[in-house]
Amino acid sequence: MKKVPLIMAVLTVAVLALFPLLRPEVYYLSFLFTLFMYVVLSSSWNVIGGYAGYLSFGHAAFFGIGAFATAKMATAFSLSPLLTILSSIPAGLLAALVALIVGYPCLRIRGPYFSVVTICFAFVVDLAVKNIEELGGAEGLWMTFMDLPEETSRAIMYEVMLLLMVVTLATVYLLGRSRFGRGLTAVRTDEEVAETMAIPTAKLKIQAFVVSAFFPGVAGGLFAYYLSYIHPDAVFSINISILIVLMAMFGGGGTWLGPIVGAVILTVVNEGLSTFAQAEIARIIYGALFIIVTIFMPDGIIAYFRRWATAQRKA
C-alpha cells in the first residue's frame, strides 16, 4: 500500500478499536459486529468469486459449519468464554477442510454450473445438520452466556470480530498483490490461456477456495456465540449466500475495496430502512437501490469511480 492509504487504514482501525471505550450503547456494538462480519464474509468470498471468477452461491455453508462446530464444541466440553471464542479457529479450519474436500471435484466445473453445485452443497450441509440430532438437529443449540455485564461481553465480541476483519482484509490484500492473486486473475480472464502459460490453475483455485472458506468459518463461530442460540435456518440460509455475493459484486468484484464498500452500504441501508414506517415500502426502496446502481454502475461502484477519477485526471 502507498503511504497515505496505509496511514488512513491504520487510523480507521485504531478509531474502531477504541470505539467501545466511549461506552456506546450495546446495539451499536452489535450492529458494527454484524457489519464487520459481512465485510469478512464478502471479502473472503471475493478471493474465489471476485479474483478467480468462480461465483460460489453456497458460502453460507462454511459460515454455518463454523457456527455449528463452535457451538457443538462449546456445549459438549462446556468451554469457558475465552476457549469458546478460540474454538472458532478450529471451526474455521474445519470449514477450510470441507472446502478442500468439496473444492477438489467442484472447482473443475465452470461458470454457472459451479454456482449451482455450490447451492446444492449448501443445501446438503444444511439438511445434514438438520437430520443429525447429535449436531443439534432441527432444534438448534443453546450456548451459555458470558458471565459478564452485557456491555463488556458485547465489546469483547466486537473487538474479536474487528480483529478477524483486519486479519481477513490484510490477508486478502496481500494475496491480491502476490503471484497467487495474479494467477487467480489470469484464471478469471481466461483459464485456458492461463493453463498454457504454465499457471497451476487447479492448485490455485483450491487454495483460493480454502482461504475463502476459512474466514467465514471463524466468523460463523463468533456469530454463534454472539447469538447464543443457533438454528440451521439462521446460518445456512440461501439468503446469506446471496447477500454475500451481492455485497461483493455491488461494490465491485475482484477489487480489494469492492466488497468492503458493498458490505458497508448494503448493511447500513438495510438496517436504516427497517425503521421505516411501512415495511413493504422500505423493501421496495431497498430493491430500487440495486436497480439504480446497476443501471448507472453496471460494473460495481469501485469500477465506476475509478473510471470517473481517470476521466477527471484527463480533463
Partner: protein, 291 residues
C-alpha cells in the same frame, strides 16, 4: 417394495418435475441467449398465479384460460421491462453479474408490490377439480397435476417449435450461437433479445399458474421456486429447451423414487446430493448447452 407406491410416486413426481420445467424453460432461454440471469423470473410466475387466482375467485375463470390470457399480457409487460431495465445493461463488462444484481432488486420490488396488492396471506388455486383424480386401476392421476403437466408439454413444445421453425426463432438461435455473425447478417440484437426475454417471461406466467395448481403460494414463494428453477435449468443445460424438459422429468423421477424408497427425512438431501454428483460428472448439464 410395493409397486403401486413406486409407480404412484413416480407419476406424481414426474408431473411435478415437468411443471418446474415449464417455469424453468424461459429462465434457461434468457440465460443462454442473452446472458441474463433473471432472478425475478419466478416472481413473474407468481404474478401469473395471482392473476389466475383473482380471475378464478371473482369470475370463476378456469386457470387454463388464465394461462392463455396471461401469456400475451406478460409478453407486453416483459417488453417494457426489457427496454427500461435490461437493455441498459448491455454495456456492462459482465452481463451475467450485472443482470443478476439488477433483477434481484426487481424481485424484491415485485414481491413487496404483491404483498401490498394481495396481502401476505397464502393462497390456493382451487378450481372445481382441484383435488379430483382420474382413477385407472389402482392408480390415481390427480387433475391439477395432469393439467400442469399438459400445460407444460404445450408450453415447452411451442417454444421449441418457435425456435426451430420460425424466422424470428432462427434469428434468436443464430444470435445466441454467434452474436457477431448475427449482427453482420443484419439481425437486430436488441429486438431479438427483447423478444427472447418477453417469450421467457410469458412462459413463466403459465408455469406459475401450473405450480399454483400444485402448491399454495404467497408473495415470498418465488424464492423457493427459484431454487428449483436453477436445478432444472442446470441439469438440462443452459439454453437447452428440450434439455430443461428432460431435466424436469429426471428431477421428478429422483424425487418420486426417493420418496418411495427412503425415509422422507432424507429425500431433499438425497435430491440435492445426487444433483451435485451429477454436475460433478456432467459439468455442462446432462444434455449439453446447445439444443
Amino acid at each position: 417394495m410395493d409397486p403401486v407406491l413406486v409407480i404412484q410416486s413416480l407419476i406424481s413426481g414426474v408431473m411435478m418435475g415437468m411443471v418446474y420445467a415449464l417455469l424453468g424453460v424461459g429462465f434457461s432461454l434468457t440465460w443462454g441467449v442473452m446472458h441474463v440471469i433473471h432472478i425475478s423470473h419466478a416472481v413473474f410466475g407468481l404474478l401469473g398465479a395471482y392473476f389466475a387466482y383473482t380471475l378464478l375467485t371473482l369470475y370463476g375463470v378456469d386457470p387454463v384460460v388464465s394461462a392463455m390470457v396471461s401469456t400475451p399480457l406478460l409478453f407486453i409487460v416483459a417488453c417494457a421491462v426489457y427496454q427500461v431495465l435490461i437493455r441498459p445493461l448491455t454495456k456492462a463488462r459482465e452481463m451475467v453479474v450485472a443482470s443478476m444484481i439488477l433483477t434481484f432488486g426487481l424481485a424484491i420490488i415485485l414481491e413487496n408490490l404483491l404483498v401490498l396488492v394481495w396481502k401476505a396471506d397464502p393462497r390456493l388455486l382451487t378450481p372445481s377439480y382441484a383435488s379430483e383424480s382420474w382413477i385407472i386401476g389402482p392408480f390415481y392421476l390427480q387433475y391439477p397435476h395432469l393439467i400442469g403437466f399438459a400445460l407444460s408439454l404445450v408450453g415447452i413444445s411451442s417454444l421449441y417449435v418457435f425456435l426451430k421453425k420460425t424466422t424470428t426463432g432462427m434469428a434468436v438461435r443464430a444470435a445466441w450461437q454467434n452474436q457477431e455473425a448475427a449482427r453482420l447478417y443484419g439481425v437486430n440484437l436488441f429486438r431479438i433479445s427483447m423478444i427472447t426475454f418477453a417469450l421467457a417471461v410469458s412462459t413463466a406466467g403459465a408455469g406459475g399458474i401450473s405450480l399454483a395448481l400444485l402448491y399454495s403460494f404467497e408473495p415470498h414463494s418465488h424464492n423457493l421456486w427459484l431454487i428449483y428453477l436453477f436445478l432444472v435449468v442446470i441439469v438440462g443445460g443452459v439454453g437447452n429447451v428440450i434439455g430443461t424438459a428432460l431435466a424436469g422429468l429426471i428431477i421428478g423421477v429422483i424425487t418420486g423414487l426417493s420418496m418411495a424408497f427412503l425415509p422422507y427425512q432424507w429425500v431433499n438431501l438425497i435430491t440435492f446430493g445426487l444433483l451435485m454428483v451429477f454436475l460433478i460428472f456432467r459439468p455442462h448439464g446432462l444434455f449439453g448447452e446447445v439444443g
